[in-house]
């Protein structure tokens, strides 16, 4: 480390401690923001110090969970620099690089928009790209633009970088075309295919010729086993495949991963097919970084959900189940895990800060209808509670089953009041609503603040 970098990181680190002491949240990105402002090149230098290199994970959905799963798999064998708190812009990565002084291996989730710069600066050993869905169009512009920027960033990677891609996403899979070092993962269990493409499916037209793809199986949004009837562009053969998937509602899932060097049975304590994708992505990434299949099995078995994505919080004889929702594809999968046993009471919370997306139109793309038929009571909350209430009413929920309570704490307590002892209250918040919810639960001593989260 050069002298200048040493002084800068020292000063920035002091600032993070100061921020925590002042009670201003975790101070997770404050030191990084400072360093990033003082000297952007410091990220290159700090990353270059990692003796085992670094890996980057990006996607619309699942990057936090995938990265956390990989951290659990790899954490016993290496000292990690890992942006666990989800601060996934360059400033957040800079902070983590500063504070994890003895780290050997960097494991970073990266915001879709920040991925090109992160890849250029950090020269990662492995890059894992999982999916692109419509998300926060107000922030990123159109999905095509993100895809184009990724294409350029991948083109600029060293030929030695191992590229891990989700073969089930036509746009993402095509990023690995012609690369020497690539791993393609996907799902292979048509029993779990959706009967039709979801309303909000995105990349459903052939990336080469524009004709609609035909799906042998569509699993999550437009992810699946696709083939273009006009030009034959199709899902590439899978290097890693999740097969024999058994979904067990909110309890989790069991499946087998077939990898180039063998197969392994996986038990996962997270619900839904989307987490099977996340686990398969994490397995591919970890294998590329030198983990064994047995590391993968042990790590995934021991894994509990990443911060705020899926939590069960017992309180007063009832359990609050929190599932993060943030865009149509993700929300649809969360709702799908509830379909088998629709909970009698749901609390939904919609905020519209920058981190949630200021454009709330996405809630109309979510397939709430199957849930609304069966839900006994829906409490809508958050800054855009009224908008969400309209979504419920126009989606077919009768007025007497809808309650509008913009204040999150009151909505939570109302929900708890409505469920019987010994049962679960399911809460679906957007990102900043989830943070606010955790703050409420943390003030009640039910959860710990995120910056004190456990390290594997």
């Amino acid at each position: 480390m050069g002298l200048r970098l040493g002084i800068e990181t020292l000063a920035a680190r002091g600032l993070g401690a100061l921020s925590r002491a002042a009670g201003r949240g975790g101070g997770t990105t404050l030191p990084g923001k400072l360093l990033w402002k003082l000297d952007p090149g410091s990220v290159d230098a700090l990353a270059a110090r990692l003796s085992k290199g670094s890996a980057l994970v990006s996607a619309t959905n699942g990057k936090t969970t995938t990265t956390a799963m990989a951290a659990r798999i790899l954490g016993d064998g290496s000292r990690l620099a890992w942006n666990q708190s989800g601060a996934n812009l360059l400033s957040g990565i800079a902070s983590e690089l500063m504070s994890a002084r003895r780290a050997e291996l960097g494991l970073f989730e990266v915001d879709e928009g920040a991925f090109p710069e992160a890849a250029a600066r950090m020269r990662p050993r492995v890059v894992a790209l999982s999916n692109l869905f419509r998300d926060q169009l107000d922030r990123y512009g159109e999905l095509e633009l993100v895809a184009e920027r990724w294409r350029a960033a991948v083109g600029a990677l060293s030929g030695e970088t191992m590229l891990v891609v989700n073969a089930d996403d036509p746009v993402v899979a095509s990023l690995a075309d012609g690369r020497r070092h690539a791993l393609r993962f996907g799902l292979d269990d048509p029993r779990h295919a959706r009967p039709t493409l979801q309303h909000a499916a995105d990349s459903k037209y052939c990336i080469r010729c524009g004709a609609p793809y035909e799906y042998a199986a569509a699993y999550v949004g437009h992810l699946g086993d696709y083939r273009c009837p006009a030009c034959d562009h199709a899902r590439p053969p899978l290097d890693l495949a999740a097969r024999e998937v058994e979904l067990r509602g909110l309890l989790g899932s069991r499946f087998r991963i077939d990898a180039p060097d063998g197969a392994v049975d996986i038990e996962l304590g997270l619900p839904g097919l989307y987490n099977v994708y996340n686990a398969t992505a994490a397995a591919s990434l970890s294998l590329a970084l030198g983990a064994s299949l047995s590391d993968v099995q042990t790590g995934l078995k021991a894994f509990s959900a990443a911060f705020g994505r899926f939590e069960r919080i017992p309180t007063g004889g009832k359990t609050i189940v929190v599932l993060l929702v943030k865009n149509p594809a993700g929300a649809n999968e969360v709702l799908r895990t509830l379909e088998t046993g629709v909970p009698p009471v749901l609390v939904l919370a919609l905020n519209d800060a920058i981190a949630d997306g200021q454009d709330v139109s996405w809630i109309w793309d979510v397939d709430f209808e199957p849930i609304l038929e069966h839900a006994g009571r829906v409490v809508v909350s958050g800054d855009r509670a009224a908008e969400l209430g309209l979504r419920m009413l126009y989606g077919g929920l009768s007025e007497d089953r809808l309650e509008v309570e913009p204040a999150l704490e009151r909505a939570l307590d109302r929900g708890l009041e409505l469920v019987e002892a010994g049962t679960e209250l399911v809460v679906l918040p957007t990102y900043t609503a989830m943070l606010a919810l955790r703050e409420i639960l943390s003030a009640r001593g039910l959860v710990r603040p995120y910056w004190e989260g456990e390290r594997p």
Binding site: D138, S361, I363, V404
Partner: protein, 250 residues
């Protein structure tokens, strides 16, 4: 009364939750004892100009828009005929652009349009993204506000004297400069506002339904019976407030 809606290219143009607009029209029609019969019209399907009381076209990403544009141009005559016969029309975002004379890309290429609305769209450099609040006067003396969200890189320039849908109170509007948003020709409305547009702007949903019912029944448009709309008004209030605080900023 049976109200027939022709929904153009729902598989391609649905980026900003256009089905929300359909859900609002359907429920508000049903609450007045009417039935909304929505039929999809896709690429290659004929558009029968006499079959529909309301035509709807939503927005898509550039790629999807380019895929449907040539087909829509082939349906130009039918769109004009439907409009001339008094069918109502709502075009949002990309659909609004495609119903003008054309879209000029940054490379100079021109994607021709349907020429229903007297405007031309040119690709700009910065996207215009954010909450919007408009003031409209569709019927003389009846002023209403519309709250929505815009996200477009195209700048739409109305021909001199062409009537906008409304005046921009907060937000960018058609081109970020003129103070105009959307276009209104008789019973046809084009706009960049999504959100989707109709849930929090029920007066416009009812205006469109009244025009469609007039077309279906062959009589003059009559205002519909009012509905409680408390939640709609609250959603409007919050959205309008957002536009006041953060609309039209880059």
């Amino acid at each position: 009364m049976n109200i027939v809606v022709g929904h153009l290219y729902p598989g391609y143009l649905n980026i900003y939750a256009d089905r929300g607009n359909m859900a609002v029209l359907g429920r508000r029609a049903a609450l007045r004892g009417h039935e909304l019969d929505v039929r999809s019209v896709g690429i290659g399907d004929p558009l029968d100009p006499d079959a529909y009381d309301l035509v709807y076209i939503g927005g898509g990403q550039d790629r999807e828009q380019a895929l449907v544009a040539p087909d829509l141009v082939e349906k130009s005559e039918a769109v004009h005929a439907a409009h001339a016969s008094g069918a109502a029309l709502l075009a949002v975002c990309g659909g609004y652009q495609l119903l003008g004379r054309g879209y000029r890309g940054r490379d100079g290429s021109v994607m021709p349009g349907v020429r229903l609305f007297p405007h031309e769209t040119v690709a700009g450099s910065a996207r215009m993204i954010g909450d919007v609040l408009l003031e409209c006067e569709l019927e003389p003396g009846e002023k209403h506000q519309l709250a929505g969200f815009e996200n477009h890189v195209g700048r739409t320039i109305l021909d001199h004297g062409a009537p906008p849908l409304g005046r921009v109170l907060f937000g960018f509007g058609n081109d970020g400069e003129s103070g105009f948003e959307g276009c209104r020709i008789g019973r046809a409305i084009g706009t960049y506002l999504h959100g989707p547009l109709l849930p929090r702007n029920p007066w416009l949903a009812d205006w469109l339904l009244a025009q469609a019912i007039a077309h279906a029944s062959g009589s003059a448009p009559r205002p519909l019976d009012p509905l409680p709309d408390e939640l709609e008004e609250e959603a409007f209030r919050v959205a309008a407030d957002r536009a006041r605080k953060r609309g039209g900023r880059r």
